[in-house]
């Protein structure tokens, strides 16, 4: 918790990824093949549901199911546990993917630095 801040500002200031900058490595680099993320809910569906922009992500189909379930089951506010769990799990997976992307960028930066150091030493 906060080790990345220590790395960024004190110990490894040149390799730790900057959240403001775009990641510089090719997404396919290091992977034999990479699966693209699938968007299930269409733009028209999200528009009709009037989703705010922050919620129009790759988990929107679960959110739409959840909203429909809530609307159908009102006033029973305890009814949609399954749909809510699906949406939460999808969002959790999305966050874990973000963490993995950050870590991938960080390791690639360290690798780049190692290669440069080796090239200089040689």
């Amino acid at each position: 918790m906060g080790a990345h801040l220590v790395r960024r500002y004190i110990t490894e200031t040149d390799t730790e990824p900057d959240p403001a900058k775009k990641y510089e490595f090719d997404p396919e680099f290091g992977f034999p093949e990479r699966k693209e993320r699938e968007m299930v809910a269409s733009q028209m569906q999200m528009n009709l549901a009037q989703l705010p922009l922050e919620q129009r992500d790759y988990c929107a189909q679960h959110l739409l199911k959840l909203m429909k379930c809530k609307r159908d089951n009102w006033p029973n506010f305890l009814a949609c546990k399954h749909e809510r769990h699906d949406w939460d799990y999808c969002e959790h997976q999305d966050y874990v993917m973000r963490m993995k992307e950050y870590e991938r960028e960080r390791r690639l930066q360290l690798r780049k630095k190692r290669i440069e150091a080796q090239a200089e030493a040689a």
Binding site: H4, P19, R34, K35, Q43, L53, R56, D57, Y58, R98
Partner: protein, 188 residues
């Protein structure tokens, strides 16, 4: 006959002690306002003038000091210490408890400013310099910490969130005719 009555009526009006126009015509004055011996006089120069002015304002000669004569129009009015009524003893039985003043006491030139509802010259409980140092020290420290927080921002170690449909190009108001740049999001 009518002329006699009219003349009598006019005389009665002018002699009567009424207010308004009749007061102007009759020459009698109201009892409010300063009388001839209490009105503001010229700045005193000689010791006799000083003594007379002190007596007029109900002060001892030792306590009486006029304003320096700079042509500002203070006359012989006494220069009293610039202390507000809030500094006076709250427990003494003043004639006017709210104003903390006794009857006949000389009033400060700015008395209406120094009443307890307005300007208060009481000393602060802690020295002024200490108060200034504490306040500005605190504000300066907070500003410095905010500056540090802006330079060395704290964030979670995650990549930016990925959105579909070319980063919601159309939803964010992008031009439908133009083709935006390609955005590919992968699983990991």
């Amino acid at each position: 006959m009518a002329g006699v009555g009219f003349r009598r009526w006019a005389q009665a009006l002018s002699k009567g002690k009424g207010s308004g126009i009749s007061a102007l015509l009759s020459g009698s004055r109201a009892a409010s306002g300063s009388s001839k011996d209490t009105v503001l006089g010229p700045p005193p120069k000689s010791p006799e003038e000083m003594a007379a002015a002190a007596k007029k304002y109900n002060l001892r000669l030792e306590d009486y000091a006029p304003y320096p004569d700079k042509g500002e129009g203070f006359g012989d009015y006494p220069k009293l210490p610039d202390r507000s009524q809030a500094e006076r003893d709250p427990w003494y039985k003043w004639d006017h408890p709210d104003l903390r003043r006794n009857w006949g006491e000389p009033m400060h030139w700015d008395f209406d400013m120094y009443i307890r509802n307005r300007v208060d010259t009481s000393p602060s409980p802690v020295p002024w310099s200490t108060m200034c140092k504490q306040l500005f020290g605190f504000i300066g420290f907070m500003l410095f910490m905010f500056y540090l927080g802006e330079t060395f921002r704290s964030y979670q170690p995650v990549a930016p969130k990925q959105y579909p449909y070319k980063n919601l190009y159309l939803e964010k108001g992008g031009d439908p005719e133009k083709q935006p740049e390609e955005v590919k999001n992968y699983e990991i």
